[in-house]
């Protein structure tokens, strides 16, 4: 059997998670680099049409892994199904998006297969014959190139935004699709998931905001939020926050930016006292201009900022509000 790369795309209720295209782009790049064959798989119940959608891209083959037990998602069923399938195909590389669902079943799957996953990668390097996968460490302050020291299949999960989903190459003709019926014995699935739901009505849609002033731990106390609010109002923007601020109840959950909150791409993202943990950055790195004010000169937020101020936000924001008001009055 020729060496191959298997991309496992993610679907929810009959729709592909669009981060799947990013993983497919990564797979195409790695296939070009290694000369290995690129294949894809989608697991669920009634996923043939999704497999056909993937087959329109430049891949050698797409597998629809079918079992009624794969719907709704459970880690037990997914790990069992993928273990059977991957053990029979023996790809060199298995690529997945680093989603909450993947985080839920991949460590179980690789343990059952006596393999490992290098998780939450942002890229790869080829060093001679060796593949290295780059991941952020210490909340993005450092990066590491990580190699597998076990036999293939090697499992890699890629961070949201690591590759461009819109750059995925279309195929010259539709790739063949094969349905694989997976047997999952009774008793394998132990969890009983209920319906997926949204907690509260989103009062604000931050994805539509052109200007966002966002606060992090550096704001120190709830009463200081008012300062950020004044700046947001002066600029005509929306107020948002990183997770710890919403966890503390200082701002409602619907103002949270990041992997567990909203993903935004405004004209201006002004980060006040935000260190820039990975989970926050994935939610705002698409902003056109990022301004960061932070005391810690090594804060990872500065890695992605266009304009940076190392300093105390309580010194800088008050005169800034005045300057903005002046500028607006003069305009």
């Amino acid at each position: 059997m020729a060496d191959s790369i298997l991309v496992i795309v993610e679907q929810h209720e009959g729709k592909l998670n669009r981060v799947s295209w990013e993983t497919l782009t990564a797979g195409q790049a790695l296939a070009a680099e290694t000369g290995w064959t690129l294949e894809a798989a989608v697991a669920g119940s009634g996923v043939a049409s999704l497999a056909n959608e993937v087959a329109g891209k430049k891949v050698a083959k797409v597998y629809a892994l079918e079992s009624p037990k794969l719907e709704p998602y459970t880690p037990d069923a997914f790990a069992a199904a993928l273990k059977q399938f991957i053990a029979s195909k023996q790809p060199k590389l298995v690529l997945l998006p680093h989603t909450y669902q993947v985080r839920d079943f991949v460590p179980k799957l690789v343990t059952a297969m006596e393999r490992a996953a290098i998780s939450d990668c942002i890229g790869y390097k080829k060093d001679g014959n060796k593949l290295l996968f780059t991941r952020q460490m210490f909340q993005g302050k450092l990066a590491a190139d990580v190699a597998f020291t076990c036999d293939a299949p090697w499992f890699v999960t890629f961070q949201n935004g690591a590759f461009r989903g819109d750059k995925v190459e279309a195929g010259s003709a539709a790739a063949p699709v094969e349905t694989v019926n997976i047997e999952i014995a009774d008793g394998v699935v132990r969890n009983k998931p209920q319906e997926v739901f949204k907690e509260a009505k989103q009062a604000v849609d931050l994805t539509q905001a052109e200007i966002i002033v966002s606060v992090g731990r550096g704001i120190k106390e709830q009463k200081n939020i008012e300062l950020a609010k004044q700046l947001a109002e002066a600029l005509g923007g929306e107020l948002a926050a990183s997770r710890p601020i919403c966890d503390s109840g200082w701002l409602p959950m619907d103002r949270q930016i990041g992997s567990s909150g909203q993903t935004v791409a405004p004209k201006l993202y002004l980060a006040l006292g935000i260190s820039g943990a990975i989970q926050h950055i994935v939610g705002m790195k698409g902003a056109r201009t990022i301004i960061a004010i932070n005391k810690d000169s090594e804060a990872p937020i500065f890695e992605i900022a266009d304009y940076a101020v190392v300093g105390n936000l309580f010194d800088i924001v008050p005169p800034m509000i005045e300057e903005v008001k002046k500028a607006k009055a003069g305009a």
Binding site: D76, D306, V317, V324
Partner: protein
């Protein structure tokens, strides 16, 4: 309800990190603190014990300095602690860390094992789920609420983009806990005093050596990430910096 909480000591959030000579890890001379999600996992275990009675046991792996995490947990109300003490534990991958924990608790009977959803140093987000698979237990990740039911527990999983899901599952089980599931408590003076007399079992590397193997992945190089953006740093007294920023907003960013 007997609950084990897996905890980790990590460098403090704003601690400046320096690379070691071989460029494969950081130098040890930084300040450490408890991995934040693990603190929420401990708090949740203490709350479950207060509701259902039982025992809370905390476990960590790392050199002598890591004992601080266990002492703090005991002061907050954990009943006893297990310390896998050796600096070699720091460089174990998620798979081996879980194997070492499984070996250290093989004679115990827990109903639940909690971990934080990920660590602030490696950030693999794997150890808890690997441990569940090694033990043959069901698991659920990124948990925001736990209730007991007739046959087990009902947990609230956080999904992406503001979605949630309740999951019913049997015990024993492993749960990875999300930050913000509860409000953290502080240790009381009495708690700190009592902690000194609580049992802390030390486990050597030799005792769990047979359970762990070679790491399945290896950090070849650790480095300061290359900047992908040309960041312009604005300097000067606050009033001047504020002025410069607003000029940028008007002339470059064009939002004023």
């Amino acid at each position: 309800m007997k609950i084990l909480v897996c905890m980790k000591q990590v460098p403090q959030k704003d601690a400046p990190l320096k690379l070691n000579e071989s460029g494969t890890w950081i130098r040890e001379d930084v300040s450490y603190e408890v991995n934040e999600p693990d603190a929420f996992a401990l708090e949740e275990a203490l709350r479950q014990k207060e509701k259902h009675s039982g025992e809370v046991v905390v476990i960590t792996a790392g050199p002598a300095r890591a004992q601080q995490v266990l002492r703090e947990a005991l002061a907050k109300g954990a009943d006893r602690a297990i310390h896998l003490e050796d600096s070699a534990f720091v460089s174990l991958d998620a798979s081996n860390t879980a194997r070492a924990f499984a070996a250290a608790i093989k004679d115990e009977k827990f109903d639940l094992i909690f971990t934080g959803l990920q660590s602030d140093d490696y950030g693999y987000a794997q150890t808890g789920v690997v441990l569940a698979e090694l033990l043959g237990w069901p698991h659920a990740t990124i948990i925001m609420q736990i209730e007991t039911t007739d046959g087990g527990i009902r947990v609230k999983r956080e999904l992406e983009a503001g979605y949630f899901q309740f999951v019913d599952m049997p015990l024993p089980a492993v749960l990875t806990i999300q930050s913000g599931i509860n409000k953290l408590r502080y240790a009381t003076l009495i708690g700190i005093k009592q902690a000194k007399n609580k049992p802390l079992r030390k486990v050597t590397l030799a005792e769990v050596q047979s359970a762990i193997g070679a790491n399945l992945q290896k950090i070849e190089r650790l480095y300061i990430p290359q900047k992908t953006k040309n960041t312009e740093f604005l300097e000067g007294p606050p009033a001047e910096v504020a002025k410069k920023l607003v000029e940028k907003l008007r002339n470059e960013v064009r939002v004023l």
